[in-house]
Symmetry: C2
Subunit: 322 residues, 2 copies
């Protein structure tokens, strides 16, 4: 496992051994194994632990456990408490989304203040498969089917190659202590259903189901890269950049095929949502002077051109009151 860990880090250029890596450790099995592996390769680390205050006294025990581990190995320890429920309620988002936003924002703060090169999270291969299926179920388009990345900006996932069972094996073999995750079953209802009910069924059809999904995600990721390159090239070809706007020739837009996907990808940077595609098509084919407003831009049909301009803040505020 240690060798595969080294190899995965090297192959994906996750970090150099001279870099300081901030480990995000909940105390659960994945993050404790991750911490153990970083010790095994003698990397220079810090440990960040979030207390979301969602598990009562157990939340505090988790924090004490991780803090003790850090002190044992003389690793700098950072912890923060979050009023997750309050934040979720204020922002009108789910507890899960709130916890995620809070923690990643704080990790980046710690990273910058303490000169860490990157932040390491303990996502494993099975997490990746579950996320793929969750996104497939919700309907994410190709973007949600490209899989988790080993590296994304300052975030690394050095355990992404490892199956949950190999992590359990390593944990047992090395007698690594960890905290059981008894988080509110509801917040993980969907993921747990996929993990405990749906995936085992798929594995009866194909025992290598998980590896198959990962390979499919990797192919879709490459396809996504090809598409992005193609769309950028197309955008350069069909648009003219003016001082305060970008114009597109109407008849070029009318000739695009496949129409909906190309229109969506072309105009996505200008705030077009999937639900607005039909409106966009109507605008392109409609009368001169017609307009369409997205979350960030204004589209106007001006005779043979579609003119896109960024909406000024005051315009956005005005619209909010309409």
């Amino acid at each position: 496992m240690v060798e595969e860990f080294r190899k995965y880090i090297a192959e994906n250029n996750l970090f150099n051994l001279s870099d300081r890596v901030l480990l995000t450790v909940s105390g659960g099995i994945d993050s404790m194994v991750m911490a153990h592996l970083f010790l095994a390769i003698n990397a220079s680390t810090g440990i960040a632990h979030c207390n979301f205050n969602l598990r009562g006294p157990e939340s505090n025990e988790d924090e004490a456990f991780v803090k003790y581990f850090a002190s044992l190995h003389k690793i700098p320890f950072f912890s923060e408490s979050f009023d997750t429920i309050g934040f979720a309620s204020e922002k009108g988002i789910s507890i899960q989304m709130a916890a995620r936003e809070l923690r990643y924002r704080w990790f980046e703060e710690i990273r910058l203040k303490n000169n860490f090169h990157c932040i390491s999270v303990a996502h494993n291969l099975n997490d990746n498969v579950e996320t793929f299926l969750l996104n497939l179920t919700r309907g994410s388009g190709i973007a949600g089917l490209t899989g988790m990345k080993p590296k994304h900006k300052n975030l690394i996932r050095p355990l992404l190659f490892a199956s949950r069972s190999s992590i359990v094996e390593y944990c047992n073999f090395n007698k690594i202590d960890f905290r059981e995750d008894r988080s509110n079953a509801e917040t993980k209802y969907k993921r747990n259903k996929i993990r405990h009910v749906i995936i085992p069924q798929f594995k009866e059809i194909n025992p290598s189901f998980e590896t198959t999904i990962i390979e499919t995600a990797e192919r879709l990721n490459e396809i996504n890269e090809i598409i992005s390159g193609h769309i950028s090239g197309l955008r350069d070809k069909v648009s003219i950049v003016n001082d305060n706007s970008i114009s597109f020739k109407i008849n070029t837009l009318q000739g695009l095929s496949p129409r909906l996907t190309l229109l969506f990808e072309l105009f996505r940077p200008y705030g077009i949502a999937k639900g607005q595609l039909d409106d966009l098509v109507n605008l392109i084919n409609g009368k001169t002077g017609s307009q369409l407003i997205t979350s960030s831009h204004r589209f106007i049909k001006n005779r043979k051109e579609l003119v896109v301009s960024k909406m000024k803040q005051i315009q956005k505020i005005t619209l909010r009151y309409l």
Copy 2:
């Protein structure tokens, strides 16, 4: 249902009302509803029924049932018996694959001999979702995730818009008679597991799961079209067509990104299989004079070029003995 049927046929240009359509009717609920709908729109049809001899006396009863229906409505009837098990055994393929090959080959014979414009099969929306998931499980790459098409060469699927439940509803309302499909559970084990166990679980997470999958398949289909267009354009740019071969500049190939997917798509018409990608990369980077054989072509590295030529039949036969 009849109106949606008409609309789907029109929107997808499946056929004109003056065309003669060969209906493939097993006697099961989907094909009987399909036949009923064709009667409702007064189309000119014929009915083809395959007897695969897999269900003993029931197979013959199915045939008699469909024959009677055809005669009732004065529709030309064609039937054929197949030694499915023998054919499967001879070709070394599964019963399912054998049945499929036998029937499509025969449908096309009947179509041509009797001047039918196209062949209609009764696949419905749920079949489409199940096929998507089956392909996802097996690992088909993007090709298996683009969904069934309403039209493919001379084959049409005019029921693809309809859910199984709407078909059952139409059947019950119109008191349409049909034969229960009690085919060997084993040949449909995987599909049945997806239908009866896995999909219901997904629907607990997202009740619109099936529609979501269909939309994803349609987006992936459009993406596939974009990729194909992109790859063709790329192939024209990076290759030179000679009399008996096509050459590619080695340094252009070395510069491709994302490498594996682009190489696979570029060289797929020349017989490259996914398992040969690493060999291809090694060839591109290897010594001049190195070769690679695919199922249909020979690749030779000739200094700064990769030269691809079609293998002659005699060469293929020789190789078979090596």
